[in-house]
Amino acid sequence: MTADGRDRRRSPRGRRSPAGSAAERRKAAYFQAIAEETGKRRLREMFRLTRLIERHREMEQRLLESEVRYRTVVENLAAGMLVAAENRIVFTNRAAAGFLGLSPEELLSDPDPFRHVHPEERQALRERHARRTAGLPVEDPFVFRLLAADGKTRWLEVTGTPIRWQGRPAALNFLIDVTERVRAAEREKMLAEQLHRAQKLEALGTLAGGIAHDFNNLMASALAYVSLMLCETDPSHRWYEPLCHIERQIRRGSQLTSRLLAHLRRKPERKSPVEVNGLIREVLDVFGRTRKDLRLTADLDSALPRILADESQIEQVLLNLFVNAADAMPGGGTLTVRTRRRELPDEADAEKASSWVELTVADDGVGMTPEIQERIFDPFFTTKEFGRGTGLGLATVFGIVKGHGGRIEVASRPGQGTRFTIRLPATAEGGRTTRIPLHATEPPPRRGRVLIVDDEPAVTASIARMLEKLGFAVLRATGGEEALELFSRHAEEIDLVVLDVVMPGMGGEAIYQRIREIRPQTRILVASGYDFGGNLRELLRGKKGGRFIQKPFTLEELSQAVAAVLSEP
């Protein structure tokens, strides 16, 4: 019987249970009640378990989703994230393993992950890790180098916090790749150093320029007197040859100062046909005097065509390559320069060939690894110790060669030296003018009055002697104001002014302009140790009655220059 009093004992197919005695019915009702109660308990218990399982599954699902969310965030972080416990990596995201060029699995199975740290920071990093996992204070951040699997070095910045990982003390570390930042700082520091060095060089250049100027004046005076002496000495005289020798030495000294001054000057690019072999000989000559420990050999093609180039820039290329080679041979060695004419296929038309000048500079020095070779033309890249190299030498070479439409290659092996090969397009244009021969002869006698303006009394005196030797009467002025005063008084009598350029107070340019204002047709011979530029060059260019003569000069050179300026219509 049920609570509502109905008899629900029924058989399949709708038949009631067989009627029986009251005791039998009670017995059947008893079993049914037990079955119903048992069924209910079973259903309720299973329903409870089902709800429990559902909640558990929902929780699992939420955990899974949460895990996916966090994993997505962690795995996609650009920053590296790793957990280290007992000197092993126990968790890493892709970025952290990627810094090493490893997969997370490879890093996790690495028995000694500290081996990837640069030796100079390895111990410090170990100690930091030990302190952090021990709960001791650690100063963050710490920047260190990591040696990646591809051989490259990365700079990483690490910060961290102590945690417990599976019940053990561990450190959670965050890694940021600061390689670019560190390199930028290095570049900034190098630039500052470069600027400082450039300022020092500028100051040094100014000083050297001053010295060269004074030195030039000394030699101008000496050369003048020697040439006067030679003029008055018979070639059979026993002092004639020594005087010739003195004259040659003075000229060589003059060339040295001239090159020094040219090197210090910033000149605009002026391309003209250049005879490379001659330039090589000159630069080798100068370079050889500074590096006596090197053996310099030149294997130059006598049929080498000229190139269309800025001579000073090609000189710079040679000098930089020579310096580079010398630095690669600290214990001495052989520097070999070789030139060849090459006929190479035209880039635009493979059927055609064009002529190239091939210049090879080779040394038998320390050589370079392929990694270094890859970067040698990068600005500021240097393998020299701090303060010795600017890292600009080969970058400059590269820039100049490219600027001339040329190509540059390098071949090197550690311990087997280095060879730079430069190819520059040849030109069919004619070469530069030949230099004035040294030999002096008795000049023809002349008449007239010359005003000499030079702040150096010795120079003024020597030029005066030469002009007097040539037959001129001479007026002398050691400054601008004195010169103008003299010129104003004797303007109609003065046939020629020999004018220095660099002088204290009023300079040559101002004097030149004032004289032209006073008497425009006055002939002026500008004499200077500098291959000067600026306004004075512009003033002389295309104007009649003005000429330039390079100090120092011989009597013959002066004679020719004077004749040239006076003969102009």
Binding site: D4, R6, R8, G14, G39, R42, R44, F47, T50
Partner: protein, 412 residues
């Protein structure tokens, strides 16, 4: 006969179709398939899937199947993502006929009659497979139960002309929410369709029904008010109140379908045994929106019927899948037939997700058929159809394992 099974789970349905078909052909060494069975998860786009499938098999090969809640193959049990499964058959000579009829929403019985008329089974045939759309109309809202096409009407139509063949099949469902389903009807895609395949006697169908429910308390109740697939009263009491009392809570009412409890009907001689195949179970799809009664998957419980409350038993479900699969294969081996391929029509309620079990009962089938080297394709359905108690009927909470055998032994 060559048989191959393929599986794919790809967001792009075209890729899934192509991949599953290609794998089936490769697995079976099949060059020119004669027939394909294909089933797809509810999130797989049917037309794109079929286009992908056809890109691998060509336009002429008939494809039979449709929506499924999940896919079972020898290597996969999947009801998440975009699962799809294909079974390809290549025979020597004709071994099947197929027909499809639409219009289930207009009456299941009529569709059954037309389908059997189109298939015209005869003495040379061995078995009939029917797949039909279970969902006539999806639930209007979260509270309302769906409107379903019932197997009883369809089976009545199929039996109207006295079909001599054992009949197997499934009511197809695309998801647990009773969403719209599709059927692959040979050459195209349909809805509200029934598609039938008659196999020749060259392929005899052997089957077992895996159960999973046992009587809650063994007490019989008489249905005192019912209409269609709605059950209102048993023993003169509101059935909802009776079930409230059984659960000891009203929380069960949230279940769609209802958890654990089903309605069972005893088949055969009264009190003649407690074997699991003596009970036909009816899924309770939910409480009616007005709370006055419960909706059942099938409308075959009528006033005056004796019913029992049954309880879903996960342990029984798994052990039944194991023992019945083994028994079926032993029987086939004993008869000397050569098993060619299997079909496993499995109630979606038997998934581990729905049953709250740690293990998948379908894994038992995988293991047994795998041991015997029988390729098979399975899918999760709404209703399973198989001979039970002397006639073919719609079943709930069961798994129907069919193994087709080449040889002369008859279906058991």
């Amino acid at each position: 006969m060559k048989v191959g099974v393929g599986y794919a789970n790809r967001e792009r349905a075209h890729e899934g179709g192509r991949e599953a078909a290609a794998r089936a052909l490769e697995a079976g060494g099949i060059g020119r398939p004669d027939l394909l069975f294909a089933f797809i998860g509810g999130d797989v786009h049917p037309a794109e899937f079929l286009a992908g499938l056809r890109s691998a098999i060509g336009a002429a090969v008939p494809v039979v199947g449709g929506s499924a809640i999940g896919i079972i193959t020898p290597g996969e049990i999947s009801y998440t993502g975009h699962p799809c499964g294909v079974l390809a058959l290549e025979g020597e000579g004709p071994f099947f006929r197929l027909a499809a009829v639409e219009g289930l929403a207009g009456g299941e019985c009529a569709v059954g009659e037309r389908l059997i008329g189109a298939l015209a089974p005869g003495a040379g045939d061995g078995s009939l497979l029917v797949f039909y759309d279970s969902v006539r109309r999806p639930p209007a809202d979260a509270e309302a139960p769906p409107e379903l096409n019932v197997s009883a009407g369809l089976l009545k139509g199929l039996a109207a002309t006295g079909c001599p063949l054992p009949l197997f099949g499934a009511g197809l469902m695309a998801d647990f929410a009773f969403g719209p389903t599709v059927q692959f009807c040979g050459s195209g895609i349909g809805t509200q369709c029934a598609v039938g395949v008659v196999f020749s006697r060259r392929l005899s169908a052997h089957h077992r029904i895996m159960h999973g429910c046992s009587p809650l308390d063994g007490v019989f109740h008489r249905v005192t008010r019912a209409a269609g697939n709605a059950l209102y009263e048993i023993d003169g009491r509101p059935v909802v109140a009776v079930i409230d009392d059984l659960y000891g809570t009203r929380d069960w009412r949230k279940g769609r379908p209802v958890d654990l409890l089903t309605i069972g009907r005893y088949e055969g001689e009264p009190y003649s045994g407690t074997e699991e195949d003596r009970y036909v179970n009816r899924l309770i799809t939910g409480v009616l929106p007005d709370g006055e009664g419960i909706a059942l998957f099938e409308p075959d419980i009528t006033e005056g019927d004796e019913i029992l409350f049954m309880i879903r038993d996960p342990g029984l479900m798994i052990s039944s899948a194991r023992s019945q699969s083994r028994a079926l294969m032993e029987e086939i081996r004993a008869a000397g037939g050569r098993p060619v391929f299997g079909l496993y029509i499995d109630c979606a309620g038997r998934t581990a997700l729905y049953s709250k079990t740690a293990a998948e009962e379908a894994a038992e089938v995988q293991q047994v058929l795998g041991l015997h080297g029988v390729p098979f394709l399975g899918f999760y359905s709404g209703v399973e159809i198989a001979p039970c108690g002397g006639r073919s009927r719609g079943l709930d909470w069961t798994g129907v394992l069919l193994v087709f055998v080449e040889g002369s032994c008859d279906d058991r």
